[in-house]
Subunit: 423 residues, 2 copies
């Protein structure tokens, strides 16, 4: 008998009907002879409504209390889901993150899982129950306070439980059919990917694909837990994410897995930086001290006549204000002329392990962009990814051009609904 | 520095404005030099909404999951209240029933508190925090499952915490000004009671007064915790409930504390019971086995000619169906002719320790009812209470007549808003 962890997002349990539909799907898995652990997010807009309430009460809610508030959402959905399953004649018990043994650090609102001790889940399974676990939440190791895991936290809960329980698979049910070769809202001919390696999925997630978050995939890779991303509505096979193709899925690894894009970043250019050792370090120390994660970095070739250079980097738009403030505060120490801020940029990334052994990929990528009349502003590469920054307005055209150039288009236009997975 | 436990019902924290208003009141108590523990119910209609959701998912939700669901309500209100207090510049931490050390038995939906181990609350107080505790909930001693305490549970949480923390007073904030000599919706001239003994309050609660539940008063009496029932809206002094008048409240105990009424009961008459030993026992064993609590019992004088008698008793209307079924099931063993069910009854009770030493009270009570043309169907008495059952339609008139006869009317008609306290 196998052990399966299933995760259902907020859109799958948005109302009583959704909960009953999901309950049937869970019971199916149980009837197929599996032990079933289900991780569930808060219903539909519950979390947003709770955030609104908090905003009405305090402009800056304390982290500990904010987490206490938000975790009420999963408490509701998990209890209702357990009731719905019992109503179908199967035994189910719901568990909070704390009861499920999800131990985290003490960083409220974006805690990290540091241990999982699923003793109560194991007991519930051994007694024949389906175990329903609140996603997105845990309990801090030191203070025993309730914590939340931040965006995409329920996926991470699911993968972490799958690892701790040595599950055969972690099924992530969402409102799309799987991971696609590009965002189907932009590329009508995007194809669903049947299998993708952890490495390629990590690069896609880092490059703007929103179906799975980087952190969840990273966790799955570390513990080698296969993820199956699929729709809770259609019941079709979705996308398998694993180290090697699984079972009868003897698909050959594609040269290119997909094209991702991201328009959530901005570019900051530090103009007139003295071209001497330690300058770049000073700039990025100032940024790091402000707890800001940056993405791409480019240093222009220094103009010999002035001895000055420009350094550009990209970062989430939401961090723009903070970064500018940090740099201005440190201007005397760093020494630069001015700052330029540009949030009208977009990033297009081509991801695929095959590019390691196919030297023509980079050239073909740039040719496709050039043919589409798209100007490249920054370039960065990893072993299995090439990313470029362009004007934001060019992104959709660029993604389509690259998708076609690499033969990723499906034969038919598919109308696929594509959306975020909430948390 | 004193320690005060305050409890706020759902109507006091119905929305963000209510929560901010309550936060100010709490901070006042803290500024007055007290350590403050606050027990809070779910916001306004939250609990009813959750019950509705459960009904949509399952016609008979499991107790464990139902409790998990309902406790989300207090989680929301307590977190918001802590945020609101911190927003006023004071430190506050919220705690679930489990975190606060409220240990219960395992009877879901109506658990009883069996121990309170408020270590975390004590620590929070010692560190200068205001402690906010979820009312109505606890954790079961054996299975560590979340439980709820049933109707009025938040009041009981407050009194239990007050006892465990050796508080000076347990303040129950509600939407009325205190305990009145009668229901002000029925008797316009009802007066607020400044002080009432535990014993009289217990009788009033048992007789239909809904401001405090019997169980909460019983707990307070056992641990001798003074309760102060007051309005969270007006800020006026309310009603003190304690063993002896407190401090400067050197009021003399009134002969009569008040008149309570109750129209939530029904009467069942078992007709044609053989008048021999063991018959009554068989009837009430059948009722007890069905887990039904009964109130008044009367056995008619047997008619010598037939050797048969009638036995009448009252019970909550909600238990009527169950009681009839239980009796019919046991009819062969008990032996009776027929059952009569009557839910058009009302009970009027006069409560006051003074009636022990004032022999005229019972006579005056019956005279008042007679003068008002009210027919008496059943009578029951305790040392400090007389109750009668009448037609339901006569109840209001009877209450007013008795209230006037015992000199309880205030000089002016007061328009007082009076309502239940939810949980």
């Amino acid at each position: 008998m196998g052990l399966v962890v299933q995760k259902y997002g907020g859109s799958s349990v948005a109302d009583a009907e959704g909960i009953k539909r999901v309950a049937k799907r869970i019971v199916e898995a149980k009837k197929n002879g599996n032990q079933v652990v289900v991780v569930v997010s808060a219903m539909g807009d519950t979390t947003d409504e709770l955030i609104d309430l908090a905003a009405q009460v305090s402009p800056m809610p304390a982290g500990r209390e904010f987490d206490m508030l938000l975790t009420a959402g999963e408490r509701i959905s998990m209890a209702l889901l357990a009731m719905a399953i019992k109503n179908l004649g199967h035994e189910a018990q719901s568990f909070t993150g704390s009861q499920a043994g999800v131990i985290t650090d003490s960083v409220h609102n974006k805690a990290r899982i540091i241990d999982v001790t699923p003793g109560r889940i194991r007991t519930a399974l051994d007694e024949g129950n389906i175990a329903i676990v609140a996603g997105f939440q845990g309990v801090s190791a030191d203070k025993k306070d309730i914590t939340t895991l931040g965006r995409g936290g329920s996926d991470t809960t699911a993968v972490a439980l799958a690892a701790a329980l040595d599950a055969e698979v972690c099924e992530i049910y969402t409102d799309v059919d799987g991971v696609f070769t590009a965002d189907p809202r932009v590329v009508k001919k995007a194809k669903k990917i049947d299998w993708i390696s952890f490495e390629d999925m990590l690069e896609l997630a880092a490059s703007g694909s929103k179906v799975l978050l980087h952190r969840c995939v990273e966790y799955a890779r570390r513990y080698n837990i296969p993820i199956h991303v699929r729709s809770s509505f259609s019941g079709l096979q979705g996308t398998w994410v694993s180290s090697e193709p699984i079972g009868d899925k003897k698909v050959e690894q594609a040269i290119i897995s997909g094209v991702a894009h991201d328009t959530s970043e901005a570019k900051i250019t530090v103009v007139g930086v003295p071209d001497k050792p330690g300058e770049a370090a000073a700039i990025f120390r100032a940024i790091a001290d402000a707890q800001i994660n940056i993405d791409m970095v480019v240093q222009n070739v220094s103009a010999a006549s002035t001895g000055l250079t420009d350094i550009s980097f990209t970062l989430p738009k939401t961090e723009g204000r903070k970064a500018i403030d940090a740099l201005e505060r440190n201007r005397p120490g760093i020494g630069f002329d001015s700052l330029r801020y540009d949030d009208q940029i977009g990033k297009i990334s081509l991801v695929g392990a095959g590019m390691k052994t196919n030297p023509g990929v980079t050239a073909a990528f740039f040719e496709a962009l050039s043919d589409a009349g798209v100007n490249i502003e920054l370039i960065s590469t990893s072993e299995i990814r090439i990313s470029v920054v362009t004007r934001k307005d060019d992104v959709s055209e660029a993604v389509r051009a690259v998708h076609t150039a690499f033969g990723l288009d499906s034969d038919t236009d598919e109308a696929v609904v594509y959306g975020g997975t909430g948390r």
